[in-house]
């Protein structure tokens, strides 16, 4: 059974059908990329999966259980974590605290534990902080552990968002244009990171415009245009699909796609 399954999902904003009857599956351990021109509805699809938008019709299931209609935090608890296209960190929290927020839902500490600083609370705080620092370390951010998120360089903010998402102990990670604004070196590191996450068994749904990256890491690709799914298949299939080339025509990405 697929881990995530979207069946005939539509999302309407007033007169605009931002996502229109989109269906696809995501298997365990797979990296699926969603591509398409700007405004194709990719981010909207993410928002639907993570419960930020109620869907207009269709169904979304995780591990066979329907998740559409659940509030975002419940979906996170079920194991879906995400990053945002326009970075949404807690700007005036330190990097460690940002990551520790990711541990919020699975921490056992209750209010009174915190209020009276019980031994249990302190032990847990310590181990969570340890885990947060470890995540920062693994993502190469330990230098910035104590900085406010807004003081970090842009590329590292993107990575911090990934660290925060990983702290929620996800089964499925949704990355919304993680390479946007990164330089070549950072992109290479990102690619390694994604590969490593895959090796550790995480399932990833990726939105990305960088064709080289997409072609390299994805097992399969779904192409959206004007809210509709116009193609799905292996990178090689998608690359040669005439509808995809048409959708991308003149965007520059089409050339890149061929060369990637």
């Amino acid at each position: 059974m697929a881990l995530l399954e979207l069946a005939h999902v539509s999302k309407r904003f007033g007169g605009l059908l931002a996502v229109s009857d989109v269906s696809f599956n995501l298997d365990r351990g797979e990296i699926l990329s969603m591509i398409g021109p700007n405004g194709a509805g990719k981010t909207t699809a993410f928002n639907c999966v993570t419960g930020l938008f109620p869907i207009t019709s269709g169904s979304i299931t995780l591990d066979g259980e329907p998740i559409s209609g659940l509030p975002p935090h419940r979906i996170t608890k079920l194991g879906i974590a995400r990053t945002f296209q326009n970075i949404r960190l807690f700007a005036f929290m330190t990097a460690v605290d940002n990551v520790m927020v990711g541990a919020h839902w699975w921490m056992k500490e209750r209010v009174w534990d915190g209020a009276f600083r019980t031994g249990r609370a302190r032990r847990e705080e310590r181990s969570v902080e340890q885990r947060a620092l470890e995540l920062l370390d693994l993502l190469g951010l330990s230098r910035y552990a104590g900085s406010y998120a807004r003081e970090m360089p842009y590329g590292l903010q993107r990575r911090l968002e990934i660290a925060r998402a990983l702290a929620t102990q996800p089964r499925l990670l949704l990355l919304d244009e993680p390479a946007a604004g990164l330089n070549t070196q950072e992109k290479k590191e990102l690619m390694q990171l994604i590969a490593r996450l895959r090796d550790e068994g995480l399932t990833i749904l990726l939105i990305e415009h960088d064709m080289r990256l997409v072609m390299e890491v994805s097992h399969r690709i779904v192409v959206l245009d004007h809210g509709e799914k116009i193609a799905e298949g292996s990178p090689a299939d998608v690359r040669t699909n005439p509808r995809v080339i048409e959708a991308y025509l003149g965007t520059g990405a089409s050339n890149e796609m061929q060369s990637a």
């Binding site: 930020l52 996170t76 608890k77 974590a81 807690f90 929290m93 705080e125």
Partner: protein
Amino acid sequence: MPDRFRSLFRADTGQGQRTRGNTVFWILSSTAAALVLMGWLLPWFVDAYSAGAGFSPQDALISPPTGVGTILIYVLAVTMVILVASPLVEPLARLRGTTFGRRADRIRLIAALVGFALTVVIWFLVSVIQEEPLFGSFGPGTYTDSAVWLTMYGYALAALVYGARPWVVGRQTLAFGIAVLPFGIFLPLMFHQAPDFLDWAAGSLAIYMLLALGLNVVVGFAGLLDLGYAAFFAIGAYACASFASPTHNIHWPLWILIFLGAAIASLFGAVLGAPTLRLRGDYLAIVTLGFGEIIPDLATNNVFNLTGGPNGISGIDQPKFWFLNFSTSPRWYYWSLLLVSLVVIVLLRNIERSRVGRAWVALREDEVAAASTGINTTTTKLLAFAIGASVSGLAGAFYGSIVSIVSPDDFSFSVSIAVLSIIVLGGIGNIAGVILGSFILTFVIFWVLPNMNEWSTTLSQTVHVPGLAGIDFSSYTYIIYGLALILMMLLRPGGLLPSRARQIELESGGESESLAAVQGVA
């Protein structure tokens, strides 16, 4: 000790930290100056009629030196001038580009220590040898005692700030606490001759401080604007009144009632909050305002015959444990409230640094991201609401017992605004700031303004300006609240003592939409 490490992390924005530390330094050093000055002027100022009775250098100038005490007073005057001038001169010097070095600090430290010692000596001379005519009597009705205490406190404070300047700048919160706590503890002793001042300290300062601490959880920590906070105060007060008065013939002890008041208020907080906390920030503000108006309305209309209508409930018990008779002096209330406040402060600080506190900050900074990171926005907000309300209910229970009568007028919108002004003035989200703010605002509103009526009448008789008599200064209350809110928001949005992140946050602007806005719910 992860906490130590965390504070290490947080200290990394060196610049902001220093500025804040300097603010605390400046506040403490000017407070020291003010106290010294007040000790100097108080007998003269307050006891205008007891002619010369007091502890004041200007008397020494008038009458020729007759003894050791008088000569010592000249020395004392020098130390006073140094310490009073310092907080004014130092910023001026900085404006002109020069700074005072270590040496200046050392001189001032010496001045403070000498002053302190001299005060003790002179006090001794006065009370034992009774050296006249310089010093007035310590009898009832004079403020000589208070003046001595204030002077000593001022010197001690000055010794602290000038003696340990780097420490004060570095550990501002701790320094602030150490500077303020003894004052809080000894206040009833220092002013034992002024029962109405103690009434103020218990009934206004301590109560409003508790209220502000509670509202700070809602507004400061969680970032939700609650304009009907007085409602929970009312609920606590009425709960206490109902269970400890002849009205329903129930007489429970206060220490049970404060918990009961807190519990009932937090229950109401949760019940009222549950349906509304999904709303956007400004809508939430106006809904809470609505609740804040409905609750006193209900009390006025005597719902279920519980509240006694517009006249309220009177004859509320004042507790009496063996030798502690609360009805004889406000000091017992004051000390109980101080104790309760300290407990509340410690608990709130702990919560602020715990899992929930982090969730509040996350929520305040970006509700959408917080929700997507696994935070249940509704229950987290509800928790802030309930905790804030419970502190308010606690204060309400005390309040009912102190004033012994509660009526709907005590819980009007202006109470909510007073509490809001306190935290805006002191520093939204910063407990130390809230304490400072509650002191300043309640002092001005509930002590200075009511007394101004009398002072100005006296003054009008002395200087023969009839216009000064009969001005009702209490009617300026609203203007003061208004100005405090406007000026702070425009000029110093972080408040007098801004919390670490809050200052930059408020100044740099940019706020994310609430989850409700994103989902199109509200």
